[in-house]
Protein backbone atom coordinates (compact mmCIF):
# COMPACT_ATOMS: atom_id res chain seq x y z
CA UNK A 1 0.00 0.00 0.00
CA UNK A 2 1.47 3.29 -1.06
CA UNK A 3 1.15 6.53 0.87
CA UNK A 4 -0.83 9.09 -1.04
CA UNK A 5 -0.74 12.22 1.14
CA UNK A 6 1.68 12.93 3.98
CA UNK A 7 1.93 15.96 6.29
CA UNK A 8 5.70 16.38 5.86
CA UNK A 9 6.75 14.54 2.73
CA UNK A 10 5.44 14.55 -0.78
CA UNK A 11 5.16 11.42 -2.86
CA UNK A 12 4.51 12.60 -6.41
CA UNK A 13 3.45 10.10 -9.03
CA UNK A 14 6.58 8.67 -10.59
CA UNK A 15 7.46 6.90 -13.82
CA UNK A 16 6.29 3.26 -13.67
CA UNK A 17 8.91 0.52 -13.99
CA UNK A 18 7.69 -2.84 -15.29
CA UNK A 19 9.39 -5.96 -13.99
CA UNK A 20 8.71 -9.67 -13.60
CA UNK A 21 8.19 -11.33 -10.23
CA UNK A 22 7.88 -15.13 -10.13
CA UNK A 23 6.69 -15.10 -13.73
CA UNK A 24 4.10 -12.34 -13.21
CA UNK A 25 4.34 -8.99 -14.94
CA UNK A 26 4.14 -6.27 -12.30
CA UNK A 27 4.97 -2.61 -11.88
CA UNK A 28 7.12 -0.58 -9.50
CA UNK A 29 8.01 3.10 -9.65
CA UNK A 30 11.13 5.16 -10.18
CA UNK A 31 13.02 5.42 -6.92
CA UNK A 32 11.93 2.00 -5.64
CA UNK A 33 14.29 -0.67 -4.53
CA UNK A 34 13.27 -4.19 -5.52
CA UNK A 35 12.10 -4.90 -1.98
CA UNK A 36 10.08 -1.70 -1.62
CA UNK A 37 8.35 -2.31 -4.96
CA UNK A 38 7.43 -5.84 -3.90
CA UNK A 39 6.23 -4.63 -0.55
CA UNK A 40 3.99 -2.05 -2.21
CA UNK A 41 2.48 -4.88 -4.24
CA UNK A 42 1.67 -6.73 -1.04
CA UNK A 43 4.49 -9.25 -1.39
CA UNK A 44 6.05 -9.47 2.04
CA UNK A 45 7.61 -12.92 1.82
CA UNK A 46 10.88 -12.42 -0.02
CA UNK A 47 12.59 -15.73 0.66
CA UNK A 48 12.33 -19.00 2.50
CA UNK A 49 14.88 -20.19 4.99
CA UNK A 50 17.25 -22.86 3.78
CA UNK A 51 16.67 -25.64 6.30
CA UNK A 52 13.16 -25.15 7.60
CA UNK A 53 11.48 -23.34 4.73
CA UNK A 54 10.27 -20.52 6.96
CA UNK A 55 8.96 -17.42 5.19
CA UNK A 56 11.26 -14.41 5.51
CA UNK A 57 10.56 -10.78 4.77
CA UNK A 58 12.80 -7.82 5.15
CA UNK A 59 14.00 -6.69 8.53
CA UNK A 60 16.75 -4.07 8.46
CA UNK A 61 16.25 -2.41 5.04
CA UNK A 62 19.89 -1.27 4.85
CA UNK A 63 21.68 -4.37 3.59
CA UNK A 64 22.81 -5.92 6.87
CA UNK A 65 20.60 -8.86 7.72
CA UNK A 66 20.31 -10.85 4.44
CA UNK A 67 16.62 -11.52 5.05
CA UNK A 68 15.76 -9.95 1.70
CA UNK A 69 18.12 -11.99 -0.49
CA UNK A 70 16.52 -12.87 -3.80
CA UNK A 71 17.55 -14.00 -7.27
CA UNK A 72 17.72 -11.09 -9.71
CA UNK A 73 18.21 -11.85 -13.41
CA UNK A 74 19.61 -15.22 -12.50
CA UNK A 75 22.10 -13.84 -9.98
CA UNK A 76 21.43 -15.16 -6.45
CA UNK A 77 21.81 -13.52 -3.04
CA UNK A 78 21.05 -10.01 -4.21
CA UNK A 79 20.21 -7.72 -1.30
CA UNK A 80 16.93 -6.46 -2.70
CA UNK A 81 16.46 -3.86 0.02
CA UNK A 82 19.33 -1.73 -1.29
CA UNK A 83 19.20 -2.63 -4.99
CA UNK A 84 17.39 -0.07 -7.15
CA UNK A 85 14.61 -1.46 -9.35
CA UNK A 86 15.39 -1.45 -13.07
CA UNK A 87 12.93 -2.08 -15.89
CA UNK A 88 12.75 -5.66 -17.06
CA UNK A 89 14.34 -7.19 -13.95
CA UNK A 90 13.43 -10.83 -13.37
CA UNK A 91 12.94 -11.41 -9.66
CA UNK A 92 12.61 -14.84 -8.10
CA UNK A 93 12.58 -16.18 -4.58
CA UNK A 94 15.45 -18.44 -3.58
CA UNK A 95 14.95 -21.54 -1.48
CA UNK A 96 18.60 -22.49 -1.33
CA UNK A 97 21.95 -20.85 -0.76
CA UNK A 98 21.83 -19.49 -4.26
CA UNK A 99 22.88 -21.16 -7.46
CA UNK A 100 24.03 -19.17 -10.47
CA UNK A 101 22.00 -20.50 -13.36
Amino acid sequence: MRIDKHPILSFPKKEPIPFIFEGQHVVGYKGDTIASALHALGVTTLSYSIKKDRPRGFYCAIGNCASCNMMVNGVPNVRTCITPLVAGMIIERQTDKGVIR
Binding site: I8, H39, T45, C60, G63, I82
Partner: protein, 364 residues
Protein backbone atom coordinates in the same frame (compact mmCIF):
# COMPACT_ATOMS: atom_id res chain seq x y z
CA UNK B 1 45.24 0.10 -8.01
CA UNK B 2 43.78 3.57 -7.50
CA UNK B 3 45.17 5.84 -4.81
CA UNK B 4 43.47 8.38 -2.55
CA UNK B 5 45.02 10.18 0.40
CA UNK B 6 42.01 9.60 2.63
CA UNK B 7 39.28 7.01 2.18
CA UNK B 8 36.15 7.43 4.26
CA UNK B 9 34.01 4.33 4.50
CA UNK B 10 30.43 5.42 5.14
CA UNK B 11 28.68 8.50 3.80
CA UNK B 12 26.39 9.16 6.76
CA UNK B 13 26.54 12.24 9.01
CA UNK B 14 29.91 11.48 10.61
CA UNK B 15 31.58 10.44 7.34
CA UNK B 16 30.29 13.52 5.52
CA UNK B 17 31.48 15.87 8.25
CA UNK B 18 34.93 14.23 8.35
CA UNK B 19 35.17 14.58 4.57
CA UNK B 20 34.38 18.30 4.71
CA UNK B 21 37.18 19.03 7.20
CA UNK B 22 39.76 16.93 5.42
CA UNK B 23 38.91 18.35 2.02
CA UNK B 24 39.12 21.90 3.36
CA UNK B 25 42.62 21.01 4.55
CA UNK B 26 43.49 20.20 0.95
CA UNK B 27 43.41 16.42 1.34
CA UNK B 28 42.18 14.24 -1.52
CA UNK B 29 39.17 12.32 -0.18
CA UNK B 30 37.21 9.34 -1.43
CA UNK B 31 33.84 8.62 0.21
CA UNK B 32 32.46 5.11 -0.27
CA UNK B 33 28.85 4.26 0.59
CA UNK B 34 26.86 1.11 -0.15
CA UNK B 35 23.52 2.90 -0.48
CA UNK B 36 22.10 4.56 -3.59
CA UNK B 37 22.13 7.86 -1.66
CA UNK B 38 24.49 9.56 0.77
CA UNK B 39 23.25 10.76 4.14
CA UNK B 40 23.07 7.51 6.08
CA UNK B 41 20.00 7.26 8.28
CA UNK B 42 19.43 11.02 8.22
CA UNK B 43 17.60 10.86 4.91
CA UNK B 44 14.73 8.99 6.55
CA UNK B 45 14.33 11.33 9.50
CA UNK B 46 11.28 13.53 9.08
CA UNK B 47 11.38 15.03 12.59
CA UNK B 48 13.13 18.22 13.64
CA UNK B 49 16.45 17.69 15.37
CA UNK B 50 17.51 18.79 18.85
CA UNK B 51 20.88 20.27 19.87
CA UNK B 52 22.15 23.72 19.05
CA UNK B 53 22.69 25.72 15.85
CA UNK B 54 25.91 23.84 15.18
CA UNK B 55 23.90 20.63 14.87
CA UNK B 56 21.19 22.31 12.81
CA UNK B 57 18.63 22.19 15.63
CA UNK B 58 14.97 22.51 14.54
CA UNK B 59 15.90 21.35 11.03
CA UNK B 60 14.34 18.14 9.79
CA UNK B 61 16.75 15.23 9.47
CA UNK B 62 16.44 14.85 5.72
CA UNK B 63 17.13 18.58 5.32
CA UNK B 64 20.26 18.25 7.46
CA UNK B 65 21.33 15.43 5.14
CA UNK B 66 20.89 17.75 2.14
CA UNK B 67 23.06 20.40 3.82
CA UNK B 68 25.82 17.91 4.66
CA UNK B 69 25.70 16.33 1.20
CA UNK B 70 25.80 19.72 -0.49
CA UNK B 71 29.03 20.47 1.34
CA UNK B 72 30.77 17.51 -0.27
CA UNK B 73 29.33 16.77 -3.69
CA UNK B 74 30.75 19.81 -5.39
CA UNK B 75 34.05 19.91 -3.54
CA UNK B 76 36.98 19.49 -5.95
CA UNK B 77 38.94 17.36 -3.47
CA UNK B 78 36.12 14.88 -2.85
CA UNK B 79 35.28 11.82 -4.99
CA UNK B 80 32.15 9.85 -4.19
CA UNK B 81 31.30 6.20 -4.83
CA UNK B 82 27.70 5.17 -4.19
CA UNK B 83 26.13 1.68 -4.31
CA UNK B 84 29.67 0.55 -3.53
CA UNK B 85 30.25 -1.96 -0.76
CA UNK B 86 33.66 -2.18 0.90
CA UNK B 87 34.35 -5.91 1.04
CA UNK B 88 37.93 -5.88 2.29
CA UNK B 89 40.11 -3.78 4.52
CA UNK B 90 43.84 -4.47 4.88
CA UNK B 91 46.47 -3.35 7.43
CA UNK B 92 48.48 -1.68 4.69
CA UNK B 93 45.41 0.48 4.12
CA UNK B 94 44.19 -1.19 0.96
CA UNK B 95 40.42 -1.05 0.56
CA UNK B 96 38.63 -3.40 -1.81
CA UNK B 97 35.27 -2.37 -3.20
CA UNK B 98 32.46 -4.22 -4.95
CA UNK B 99 30.31 -1.95 -7.10
CA UNK B 100 28.00 -2.96 -9.95
CA UNK B 101 29.58 -6.37 -10.31
CA UNK B 102 33.06 -4.88 -10.51
CA UNK B 103 35.81 -5.38 -7.95
CA UNK B 104 38.30 -2.56 -7.48
CA UNK B 105 41.26 -2.06 -5.13
CA UNK B 106 42.20 1.28 -3.59
CA UNK B 107 45.29 2.32 -1.67
CA UNK B 108 44.86 4.97 1.00
CA UNK B 109 47.25 6.90 3.22
CA UNK B 110 44.59 7.16 5.91
CA UNK B 111 41.20 5.52 6.38
CA UNK B 112 38.19 6.55 8.44
CA UNK B 113 35.63 3.88 9.22
CA UNK B 114 32.29 5.66 9.69
CA UNK B 115 29.96 2.76 9.08
CA UNK B 116 27.35 3.57 11.68
CA UNK B 117 25.27 1.01 13.53
CA UNK B 118 22.77 -1.76 12.96
CA UNK B 119 19.56 -2.63 14.75
CA UNK B 120 19.61 -5.01 17.67
CA UNK B 121 17.18 -7.87 17.57
CA UNK B 122 14.84 -9.36 20.13
CA UNK B 123 14.59 -13.07 20.76
CA UNK B 124 11.09 -14.50 20.88
CA UNK B 125 9.26 -17.36 19.19
CA UNK B 126 8.56 -16.72 15.51
CA UNK B 127 10.56 -13.50 15.43
CA UNK B 128 11.45 -14.22 11.81
CA UNK B 129 7.95 -13.81 10.41
CA UNK B 130 7.48 -11.33 7.56
CA UNK B 131 5.84 -8.25 9.04
CA UNK B 132 8.39 -7.95 11.84
CA UNK B 133 10.70 -5.03 11.07
CA UNK B 134 13.50 -3.08 12.62
CA UNK B 135 12.57 0.54 13.29
CA UNK B 136 14.94 1.74 10.60
CA UNK B 137 13.23 -0.50 8.08
CA UNK B 138 9.85 0.98 8.90
CA UNK B 139 11.24 4.50 8.49
CA UNK B 140 12.86 3.52 5.21
CA UNK B 141 9.68 2.05 3.80
CA UNK B 142 7.49 4.94 4.86
CA UNK B 143 9.69 7.97 4.44
CA UNK B 144 11.90 6.97 1.52
CA UNK B 145 9.64 4.81 -0.57
CA UNK B 146 6.19 5.94 0.54
CA UNK B 147 5.10 2.38 1.30
CA UNK B 148 3.09 1.51 4.42
CA UNK B 149 4.63 -1.29 6.53
CA UNK B 150 1.16 -2.35 7.70
CA UNK B 151 -2.13 -0.97 8.98
CA UNK B 152 -2.08 -2.04 12.66
CA UNK B 153 1.29 -1.94 14.33
CA UNK B 154 2.84 -2.37 17.77
CA UNK B 155 6.18 -0.76 18.57
CA UNK B 156 8.65 -2.57 20.80
CA UNK B 157 10.98 -0.17 22.59
CA UNK B 158 10.38 3.28 24.03
CA UNK B 159 13.80 4.79 23.40
CA UNK B 160 13.99 7.86 21.19
CA UNK B 161 13.85 5.81 18.01
CA UNK B 162 10.79 3.83 19.13
CA UNK B 163 8.95 7.00 20.17
CA UNK B 164 9.90 8.98 17.07
CA UNK B 165 9.09 6.19 14.63
CA UNK B 166 5.71 5.66 16.34
CA UNK B 167 4.94 9.33 15.74
CA UNK B 168 6.04 9.00 12.10
CA UNK B 169 3.81 5.93 11.68
CA UNK B 170 0.86 7.96 12.94
CA UNK B 171 1.71 10.74 10.50
CA UNK B 172 1.67 8.19 7.69
CA UNK B 173 -1.79 7.05 8.75
CA UNK B 174 -0.88 3.77 10.44
CA UNK B 175 -2.72 2.80 13.61
CA UNK B 176 -0.17 2.37 16.39
CA UNK B 177 -1.86 0.17 18.97
CA UNK B 178 0.76 0.76 21.63
CA UNK B 179 4.39 0.84 22.62
CA UNK B 180 5.88 -2.07 24.55
CA UNK B 181 8.73 -1.30 26.94
CA UNK B 182 10.45 -3.94 29.06
CA UNK B 183 11.91 -1.42 31.53
CA UNK B 184 9.72 0.17 34.21
CA UNK B 185 10.29 3.62 32.73
CA UNK B 186 10.23 5.21 29.28
CA UNK B 187 13.66 5.22 27.67
CA UNK B 188 13.61 8.26 25.42
CA UNK B 189 12.99 12.00 25.79
CA UNK B 190 9.72 12.67 27.62
CA UNK B 191 8.67 15.28 25.05
CA UNK B 192 8.56 12.49 22.46
CA UNK B 193 6.54 10.34 24.84
CA UNK B 194 4.14 13.19 25.58
CA UNK B 195 3.52 13.73 21.86
CA UNK B 196 2.56 10.06 21.54
CA UNK B 197 0.31 10.04 24.59
CA UNK B 198 -1.61 13.06 23.27
CA UNK B 199 -2.38 11.01 20.20
CA UNK B 200 -3.95 8.33 22.34
CA UNK B 201 -1.18 5.74 22.01
CA UNK B 202 -0.61 3.79 25.24
CA UNK B 203 2.90 3.04 26.50
CA UNK B 204 3.01 -0.31 28.31
CA UNK B 205 6.06 -0.33 30.58
CA UNK B 206 7.32 -3.54 32.23
CA UNK B 207 5.93 -5.45 29.29
CA UNK B 208 7.54 -7.61 26.62
CA UNK B 209 6.68 -9.72 23.60
CA UNK B 210 6.48 -13.42 24.47
CA UNK B 211 5.87 -14.72 20.95
CA UNK B 212 4.56 -13.84 17.51
CA UNK B 213 1.95 -15.80 15.61
CA UNK B 214 1.05 -16.11 11.98
CA UNK B 215 1.29 -18.46 9.01
CA UNK B 216 3.03 -16.64 6.17
CA UNK B 217 2.85 -13.24 7.79
CA UNK B 218 2.55 -11.78 11.25
CA UNK B 219 -1.04 -11.95 12.53
CA UNK B 220 -0.81 -11.54 16.29
CA UNK B 221 1.57 -11.19 19.21
CA UNK B 222 1.36 -12.37 22.80
CA UNK B 223 2.41 -9.73 25.31
CA UNK B 224 3.34 -10.45 28.92
CA UNK B 225 4.07 -8.28 31.95
CA UNK B 226 7.45 -8.31 33.66
CA UNK B 227 8.06 -8.17 37.40
CA UNK B 228 10.63 -6.01 39.18
CA UNK B 229 13.35 -8.50 38.29
CA UNK B 230 12.39 -8.38 34.58
CA UNK B 231 10.92 -11.91 34.80
CA UNK B 232 7.70 -12.75 32.94
CA UNK B 233 4.62 -12.77 35.16
CA UNK B 234 2.61 -15.86 34.30
CA UNK B 235 -1.07 -15.19 34.00
CA UNK B 236 -0.63 -11.75 32.44
CA UNK B 237 -0.39 -13.01 28.86
CA UNK B 238 -2.63 -11.31 26.35
CA UNK B 239 -2.92 -11.63 22.61
CA UNK B 240 -3.21 -8.67 20.27
CA UNK B 241 -3.88 -8.87 16.57
CA UNK B 242 -1.76 -6.76 14.22
CA UNK B 243 -0.08 -6.94 10.85
CA UNK B 244 3.24 -5.33 11.66
CA UNK B 245 5.61 -5.29 14.62
CA UNK B 246 8.43 -2.81 14.87
CA UNK B 247 11.47 -3.75 16.93
CA UNK B 248 13.37 -0.79 18.31
CA UNK B 249 15.49 -2.20 21.10
CA UNK B 250 18.72 -0.41 20.49
CA UNK B 251 21.60 -0.18 18.07
CA UNK B 252 24.91 -1.99 17.88
CA UNK B 253 28.04 -0.31 16.54
CA UNK B 254 28.85 -1.77 13.12
CA UNK B 255 32.59 -1.95 12.71
CA UNK B 256 33.08 -5.49 11.45
CA UNK B 257 35.44 -4.19 8.76
CA UNK B 258 37.90 -3.34 11.51
CA UNK B 259 38.14 -6.99 12.53
CA UNK B 260 39.72 -7.60 9.12
CA UNK B 261 42.71 -5.58 10.28
CA UNK B 262 42.64 -6.89 13.86
CA UNK B 263 41.79 -3.52 15.37
CA UNK B 264 41.30 -4.13 19.08
CA UNK B 265 37.80 -3.80 20.46
CA UNK B 266 36.37 -3.65 23.95
CA UNK B 267 32.93 -4.58 25.21
CA UNK B 268 31.32 -1.49 26.70
CA UNK B 269 27.63 -1.79 27.46
CA UNK B 270 27.08 1.96 27.70
CA UNK B 271 28.35 2.49 24.16
CA UNK B 272 26.18 -0.24 22.65
CA UNK B 273 28.39 -3.35 22.72
CA UNK B 274 31.78 -4.07 21.23
CA UNK B 275 33.48 -0.84 20.17
CA UNK B 276 36.88 -0.27 18.58
CA UNK B 277 39.47 1.10 20.96
CA UNK B 278 40.38 4.57 19.74
CA UNK B 279 42.75 7.21 21.06
CA UNK B 280 42.13 10.95 21.46
CA UNK B 281 42.49 11.40 17.71
CA UNK B 282 39.98 8.66 16.95
CA UNK B 283 42.76 6.41 15.63
CA UNK B 284 42.16 2.69 16.19
CA UNK B 285 44.92 0.34 17.30
CA UNK B 286 45.88 0.00 13.63
CA UNK B 287 48.08 2.88 12.53
CA UNK B 288 46.45 5.09 9.94
CA UNK B 289 42.97 3.68 10.42
CA UNK B 290 40.47 5.84 12.30
CA UNK B 291 36.83 5.46 13.28
CA UNK B 292 34.00 7.80 14.33
CA UNK B 293 30.25 8.16 14.69
CA UNK B 294 27.92 5.40 15.80
CA UNK B 295 30.56 2.84 14.79
CA UNK B 296 32.49 3.79 17.93
CA UNK B 297 29.57 4.27 20.28
CA UNK B 298 25.82 4.72 19.99
CA UNK B 299 24.70 8.33 20.39
CA UNK B 300 22.59 10.73 18.35
CA UNK B 301 23.27 12.03 14.86
CA UNK B 302 24.22 15.37 16.40
CA UNK B 303 27.16 13.74 18.20
CA UNK B 304 28.08 11.77 15.07
CA UNK B 305 28.41 15.04 13.15
CA UNK B 306 30.67 16.63 15.78
CA UNK B 307 32.81 13.47 15.99
CA UNK B 308 33.08 13.44 12.23
CA UNK B 309 34.34 17.03 12.10
CA UNK B 310 36.87 16.31 14.84
CA UNK B 311 38.14 13.11 13.21
CA UNK B 312 38.58 14.90 9.87
CA UNK B 313 40.58 17.61 11.64
CA UNK B 314 42.74 15.07 13.52
CA UNK B 315 43.48 13.06 10.40
CA UNK B 316 44.57 16.22 8.59
CA UNK B 317 46.85 17.17 11.50
CA UNK B 318 48.29 13.65 11.67
CA UNK B 319 49.08 13.87 7.97
CA UNK B 320 51.04 17.09 8.60
CA UNK B 321 48.42 18.97 6.55
CA UNK B 322 46.40 20.69 9.27
CA UNK B 323 43.17 22.49 8.42
CA UNK B 324 43.83 26.27 8.27
CA UNK B 325 41.45 26.81 11.23
CA UNK B 326 42.40 23.58 12.98
CA UNK B 327 42.79 24.84 16.55
CA UNK B 328 39.68 27.02 16.59
CA UNK B 329 37.50 24.33 15.00
CA UNK B 330 38.78 21.57 17.27
CA UNK B 331 37.94 23.73 20.25
CA UNK B 332 34.49 24.54 18.88
CA UNK B 333 33.52 20.95 18.09
CA UNK B 334 35.00 19.62 21.34
CA UNK B 335 32.88 22.14 23.20
CA UNK B 336 29.73 21.23 21.24
CA UNK B 337 30.29 17.52 21.78
CA UNK B 338 30.80 18.01 25.48
CA UNK B 339 27.62 20.08 25.68
CA UNK B 340 25.61 17.36 23.94
CA UNK B 341 26.86 14.89 26.53
CA UNK B 342 26.34 17.17 29.50
CA UNK B 343 22.74 16.39 30.41
CA UNK B 344 21.28 13.29 32.09
CA UNK B 345 21.04 11.49 28.76
CA UNK B 346 24.76 11.97 28.19
CA UNK B 347 25.81 10.36 31.47
CA UNK B 348 25.70 6.88 30.01
CA UNK B 349 27.96 7.88 27.13
CA UNK B 350 30.41 9.60 29.46
CA UNK B 351 30.64 6.50 31.65
CA UNK B 352 31.21 4.40 28.54
CA UNK B 353 33.95 6.68 27.28
CA UNK B 354 35.66 6.61 30.69
CA UNK B 355 35.70 2.82 30.55
CA UNK B 356 37.14 2.98 27.04
CA UNK B 357 39.97 5.29 28.10
CA UNK B 358 40.91 3.11 31.06
CA UNK B 359 43.48 0.70 29.70
CA UNK B 360 44.44 2.71 26.66
CA UNK B 361 46.18 0.83 23.91
CA UNK B 362 47.57 3.23 21.36
CA UNK B 363 48.48 2.41 17.79
CA UNK B 364 51.84 0.71 17.47
Amino acid sequence: MKHHELIIIGGGPSGLCAAKMAAEAGIDVLIIDRSPELGGQLIKQTHKFFGSKAQYAKTRGFDIAKILIDQVIHHPHITILKEATVVGLYPDRVVTVYQHETYTRYQADRIIVATGASEKFLAFENNDLPGIYGAGAVQTLMNLYGVLPGQEIIMVGSGNIGLIVSYQLLQAGVHVKGIVEAAPTIGGYKVHASKIRRLGVPIWTSTTVQRAMGKDHLEAVELIDLDAKWQPLLGTERIMSLDALCISVGLSPMHQLLSMVNAKTKYINELGGFVPIIDDHHQTTVKGIYACGDAVGIEEASSAMMEGYLTGLYVATDMQRPHPDSDALKEKYDYELDMLRNGPFGIKTKIGLEKLRKDDIHAQ
